[in-house]
């Protein structure tokens, strides 16, 4: 398949769609209505494409899990992969068995209440334990970065603990930390990624983006 089909044509399609979608945000609808209509149609397409991608992703995930077990037939891997397939079959069977009630069927509710809810929350509990251990081991006031991180983190934790909110100013300081430095950092990261994406797109348009032009 030629480079035109594999690389250039998809790039042009993506750029044109992206450009027209951005125009919807920049050009008032009262001035030019077509950008809004285009954006709405693309919005519907996104739903279809996302659902298709999820389906393909599930298929890929299942095959990847199976191949992983084939390459590494140890007891631990068998338990991990086996539990994955058991859960997959269990959920699929439950929904099929209870068709057409589906999500509101007694069987699906049983699975959600008795298995999924506790399994998911246990995962978060384990993650919480690891984070607590990390706070102890990693948050040492050895540099300006860790000092600032520790102050902000502690402020937010203390604001969330009922007893400490009786200390004057803790609640207000915790709210300020949440609203200013944390939000600022998040927005800065988002803005950086967005600007980087625009720059890469522009470079791709003028043929100077090596990641698209060639594979090294």
């Amino acid at each position: 398949m030629s480079t035109l089909i594999r690389r250039d044509l998809p790039t042009v399609v993506i750029v044109v769609i992206g450009f027209l979608t951005v125009c919807n945000l920049l050009v008032p609808r009262t001035t030019i209505d077509i950008f809004y209509k285009f954006s709405s149609i693309m919005g519907n397409m996104i739903t279809i494409i996302s659902a298709t991608a999820v389906g393909i992703g599930i298929f890929y995930g299942v095959t990847a899990e199976y191949n992983m077990w084939r390459r590494n037939r140890t007891l631990a891997q068998t338990i991990v992969s086996g539990s994955f397939f058991v859960m997959l079959i269990l959920v699929f069977s439950t929904v099929l068995y209870s068709w057409p009630n589906g999500y509101i069927s007694t069987e699906y509710k049983w699975y959600q209440y008795k298995i999924y809810q506790w399994q998911a929350q246990s995962q978060y509990a384990v993650m919480f334990l690891y984070q607590c251990g990390a706070v102890y081991r990693v948050l040492r006031l050895r540099s300006m970065e860790t000092i600032v991180l520790s102050i902000c983190g502690l402020a937010f934790i203390l604001r969330s603990i009922g007893i400490f909110t009786y200390i004057p100013g803790i609640m207000e300081f915790g709210l300020w930390v949440a609203g200013a430095p944390v939000t600022g950092g998040t927005r800065a990261a988002t803005l950086t990624v967005t600007i980087a994406a625009l720059v890469v797109s522009a470079r791709a348009l003028i043929g100077r983006e090596s990641t698209i032009i060639e594979v090294r």
């Binding site: 519907n44 739903t47 959600q112 999924y116 919480f128 102890y136 934790i157 400490f164 949440a178 939000t183």
Partner: protein, 308 residues
Amino acid sequence: MAQKVEEKSIWEKLGTLDYRYIYATFIILCFIPLVLPISLPAKVSSITQDYYDTIMAVPDGGVIMSRQSVSLDVWIDTGSIFTNTLKILWSIPASRGITLIMVQGSTDALFKARDIEAKEAKPPADWVYGQNWVDLGYLPPLTTDAGIVSFLANFKNTATKDAYGTSVDTIPAYQKVAQRRADTTIANGYDIDLLIWFSWGCTDPDWYVRQYWTSGQPAYKIPQLFQTIGNCVPNCMPYLGKEKPIKAYVAGATGAAELEKLTGFKSIDPPGTMVADSLNLAGIGTVTFFIIGNIAFFGQRFFSKKKE
């Protein structure tokens, strides 16, 4: 010849505690409230107070939309917010003429919300289904931008029937909403006085503000209340304020405990105050280990004998 094993200093020992001791400590701390109700003191924050006041300040004859996006994997942390908010809504006297529209935004909400409404947060006698509240059911299009735009333009674009299959044209509560403002033949975003929504997707505040506040011509400017986990609070802060889209939020078990203290409504599934106590004790443990770690760090730095 046997190698000489250098004994660790007290500072090194403090700084390299076995992780098993740390995990065991936290497990015990989180477990205590389960067997011994403590009810640690908690101050009701101004934001939680605003949350309650905003609901109560909806004008008589107004419309509250509750977008129930329950998620079972964070139910233990957020479930009592959902349950107690429902109890707050039911506590509004029906004589005020407020209409409540329920919409489920997740598959978990589809059955969990109904279970809560059927057991713990049953509507009182004066809240009659179809008369002053309606459940439009699970609407998957509301998970997309295009779907929300269509829904806010006219609810019937997405929901022609309620959750029980009844045409909305025959439901008095729905018709009452449609006849309120602007176009009196349709129910749309301009008829909503307050939107209560839940999410633990931390980027959702941007989305909800974009769709429910700034979109529409003229803009819908629907006031919102946000139910979430603690992590997502920073993301809603830029939109939080009396003149801004999000009037207040309740976050996590701590916020739920504040809401319980403020309203007197106790949640059973899950028990909000008990979960908050576990969280509080774990927070105390976190701060304690942070202090221990740094005492060890500075002790090693300033008081340990330097190796020759």
